[in-house]
Symmetry: C2
Amino acid sequence: MNNKPQLFTALSPALLHLYDVKESIVVIIDVLRATSTIATALFNGAAAVIPVDSVPHCIDLGKQLGGITAGERDGKVAEGLVYGNSPFEYPRSFIENKTLVLTTTNGTKLLHMALNSGAPGIITGSFPNLSAVSEYLIKEKRNVILGCAAWKDRFNIEDTLFAGAVVSRIKDHFNINCDSSNMAEGLYREGENDLYEFMKAKNASHYHRLTGYGLEKDIRYCLTADIANVLPLYDDGKLIAAGL
Amino acid sequence: MNNKPQLFTALSPALLHLYDVKESIVVIIDVLRATSTIATALFNGAAAVIPVDSVPHCIDLGKQLGGITAGERDGKVAEGLVYGNSPFEYPRSFIENKTLVLTTTNGTKLLHMALNSGAPGIITGSFPNLSAVSEYLIKEKRNVILGCAAWKDRFNIEDTLFAGAVVSRIKDHFNINCDSSNMAEGLYREGENDLYEFMKAKNASHYHRLTGYGLEKDIRYCLTADIANVLPLYDDGKLIAAGL
């Protein structure tokens, strides 16, 4: 053994309790599309992104803070909200200096679980901010849990691919005694040359749900590394761009 | 859509509740070593294998039925039991016509969960009986859940590899809208040329636990297809070789 910190991957929110959340930085991963959109909004100058778990909560908080309310249900902007989940809705010209109140299901649920379990640090991760996440985790030298938001607690390919991308970047700095992490890295290695085609080939259920809504462009964006390379750090109820 | 039944893979007992157990045949997978040993004992003529969840229960039932009591804790025969978990302990000369009362942790827990959730059929699967399992599932034409016993609810490589082997054999007969199943098949395809070396390369935690106990020979056996090709069917508290 050595003094390197531990790295684990929780493939579903239903598996988070198996890991030592209290002693770990938890990376919330919801690649399609919540955490990709969060990175994009912050990269483009949003003052903060507040993740909330329900449409009514989103509406209330939007009024209270004068924020942009956003969220989708079944591929459409949810009733009572104004914007959707697509990263393309949040260019700098629109979102700079504004607060985005975003309701998502899987990602927000996992974030609140990590929070309630006493995680000492919570960040969000996605391909658009892969390098920022990886560099932060290396620098912090603390235990890490890569938390996949999954789909209604079911394992999904895209969040696992991102976990694998992080593992491949940072593994030399950690002790990894975790089959999930090793599997995730292998999955990423298998698909890294063309993640979009890999998703299609794997028949990923979320790929099919989103392309059914005409969102191929979103998927391609959400699988592109470092195009919104910012570090979203959760603090006091909101995500802010760390260091800005 | 078509009329094919559904196939899902539950990567951990903690994810079993996400699937429609009541309408599915559940395959209990505990490759190292419970379900490999169960297949071996039945292949070699055991009258039945009774999986139990604790050492005291194993001792009680062994006395009551005049059966062989077996089980390990931390790599050694558990105190009060007579035999261990290795498939090599159960040649025909020893086990024929006897009842094996076997205590395992992960596999037995999952089996009881499937039973309590009303699964209409439960079988056990491992590489030694890969073909028997695959042929049965194709023949039955019912929904299937490949249930990985995992390790204390944590995902493991070896059970997922076996799930992937089954998926690769039977997928043309099922609708698969399940990222876990697709990932498992990819993992198996990656490793199938040499599963033993693949396990080592993946740094599988269980591989290291068992080789620490000097069980390389067991691992090689448990990764060998069809050397104990029998179908263990759970009925009325015990596993019997179907059709015998």
